[in-house]
Amino acid sequence: MIPELGHFALILALVIALVQGTLPLFGAARGRVEWMEVAKPAAFLQCAATVIAFAALTWSYVVSDFTVLNVVQNSHSAKPMLYKVTGVWGNHEGSLLLWVLILTIFGAAVAAFGRNLPPSLKARVLGVQAWVAIGFFSFTLLTSNPFERVWPPPLDGNDLNPLLQDPGLAFHPPLLYLGYVGFSMAFSFAIAALLEGRVDPAWARWVRPWTLAAWIFLTGGIALGSWWAYYELGWGGWWFWDPVENVSFMPWLLGTALLHSAIVVEKRDALKIWTILLAILTFSLSLLGTFVVRSGVLTSVHAFAVDPERGLYILLLLTIAVGGSLALFAWRAPSLKAGGLFAPVSREGGLVLNNLLLATATVTVLLGTFYPLFVEAFTGGRISVGPPYFNATFLPIMLPLVAVMAVGPLLAWKRADLAGVLGRLKFVALFAVLAGLATWYLQNGGPALAALAMALAVWLFLATLWELAERLRLFSAPLGDSWKRARGLPRAAYGMSLAHAGLAVAMAGMIGSSAWKQEEVRLVQPGDVVALGGYEFRFEGARQVRGPNYLSDTAPLTLLRDGREVGTLYPERRFYPVQQMHTTQAAIRTNGLYDLYAVIGDPQPGGGWVLRIYLEPLVPWIWFGAGFMALGGLVSLSDRRLRVGAPRRARPAVTQPVPAE
């Protein structure tokens, strides 16, 4: 009964989307207000219907309704409740339902909070959003229906892949989708602007918060996925340049560029055409990601459901959405009025450079990911493009970007005094150089790149703090004055500083774990001791533990430092009988500065176990840094000015010109 209700609700949502995609757009073109006003209630209804559908599927999982095929394929009665729920999106069909749910929620949010939007723009935005929804609803209903039934119901389900029965990976898809789908709003706004034929300040004020929200979620989603790979896969690695990772990274890179160019549109009414193109391309990359993950075109450790037929449908979606929007762009964009002027050396110039570098980085990742496909198409041969390629091409683009990021926020709008700014940063530069030299010395023969990169990370971090300090007149005015300024400083300024500093911290973490990781692999018997990084690990033998739906070999490791016991690690090797799969559960002990990471491997026929121990310096900083970036975004999002719809008239300059942020 409930699955039928969900199925019906989904169909209803599609029908509503069809209405929402036609009437408002015609209404905006003809000036028919009643038609345009259909958009808002339609968006709410569409959202409600999708919520019902999603709730119905979730219910089926919670009660383990094995007459629903999707539940049979991906769930099991013995599975812990948390994973019964998160298993709803741990498969192709359910994850699509999550996609459209988030899409309709975003649409409803625009309908609800969009009071300040000009009616025709709002109608168009919701209309375009409805078309994206139509694409995904039809894809779900026609090829990937989660409500398909099976009769008679089997006694129990096939269980969820044990790798997915994990808190990190359970929440990774929702965060990612919030990001991908969030960019669909920027996309809808861009299309709407092209249809309107103009880009006015209201548009810019609207694109920013939605893009920022999407960016925050995507940052969180990618970081969570990376963290999961770190603790679950057993090698202490956190990024492999795997195709599926790359297709999530590309929208993030281009989305960051979009975020920054949107600032220029808003503040200076410039870069409008470029920003529209970026909005279209960022969402296109989201769609491309969906395609790659679900079609099986590229081999990957993480590929989802691999089905060329579904891939064809997504490709069709992609062609219509991206092809259509780029065709619209080619047709309408040339007639958009070009924006304001600025000198090359200025904050705008810095943001242009930011965009250039991020766009190039995106192209680099795109090239590397799809090149094997090109080669195969042309010559039939197979090549592999892996970490060595990306390290050689991606890093040389990102390092200069980091260097420029430090200087950018200090530049004035319209025209800046670069020499002056660099002069003000001379102490920061000095510290950075010292940090680089210290790194070089301390790492004792490690890679030179690590020292350079660390110097840049310090440069970025200190310059970000310096900029904030200057804004608060920390070293030039009495403390009370600075405090008053601090209270009055817009949140967006703090957000930016937090986010930029977060990147520097994350970067330091990446350098540490890549360049200075230590490892020991040993075959151990109970009582053996392995030494690494000033610690000793004593293997106490393995014992069997029974979990809710798995059997575990747990191997307590006593941790000793200078002969004293300081703790115990419990690496595990689990066997899930239903799916007949093994997983390793690494034991990680962190002190915020470095991680101790222990994994037990297969038991050896001659007795004994293979033990792998890693020391990962600075690795926790990667996740801290990502957290700061997301937090910075949130702080920025909470800035009241970002949520004011209509532009306000600028006040005349008062005493001294203060660089607007």
């Binding site: 193109l277 079609s295 490709l315 092809g323 780029l326 040339p334």
Partner: protein, 179 residues
């Protein structure tokens, strides 16, 4: 000129989409690696016979003796090998094809017992206990089968077990062509 610039993203996308469409071709297997040994002479190797077996060992010289040869790489612990074995037995007996084998990373007792149970169609079997010969042939798993022409040049490589359909549609025509 300006117009051209605006059409560029669409053009680039169109080309990209064409590649993606090509990539979806159901005949294509993204995980398969084509052999680089096709049209190359057989790799250098010299393998002893399986311990306590009457069947002689195998080396490169045996493969360039003027006969068409089918080289089958197998192991007793490999389930698909078991599935394809009857076809190989049939191939050797009834179609009069020279079949030789490489026993990959197997224990001699296990291999002999397996051959005892399922039949031994091989004219010669090289025992590759440490797997090096397999690497020379560029295998990524077992079973794999190679067809060599009279001069000992590799002409075809089949990954995985041979099914009856593949035997009729692919392998036999190739063998005929090489005659």
């Amino acid at each position: 000129m300006k117009r051209l610039l605006f059409i560029l993203p669409l053009l680039i996308f169109a080309i990209g989409a064409a590649f993606l469409y090509w990539g979806l071709n159901p005949e294509r297997d993204p995980a398969a690696i084509p052999s680089v040994l096709i049209d190359e002479p057989a790799p250098q190797f010299e393998l002893p016979p399986i311990e306590a077996s009457a069947t002689p060992g195998l080396s490169t010289a045996d493969l360039a003796n003027g006969q068409i040869t089918v080289v089958n790489i197998f192991a007793s612990w490999c389930l698909p090998c078991r599935a394809e074995h009857p076809l190989l037995v049939d191939l050797a007996e009834q179609r009069d094809v020279r079949l030789v084998g490489i026993n990959y990373k197997d224990k001699p007792e296990d291999a002999l017992a397996w051959l005892e149970e399922l039949g031994n169609p091989y004219e010669a079997i090289g025992a590759d206990e440490n797997g090096r010969a397999g690497i020379e042939w560029g295998i990524s798993g077992v079973p794999e089968t190679f067809i060599l022409d009279r001069e000992g040049t590799i002409r075809y490589r089949h990954v995985g077990p041979i099914h009856a359909v593949e035997l009729d549609d692919v392998i036999l025509p190739i063998l005929e062509r090489l005659q």
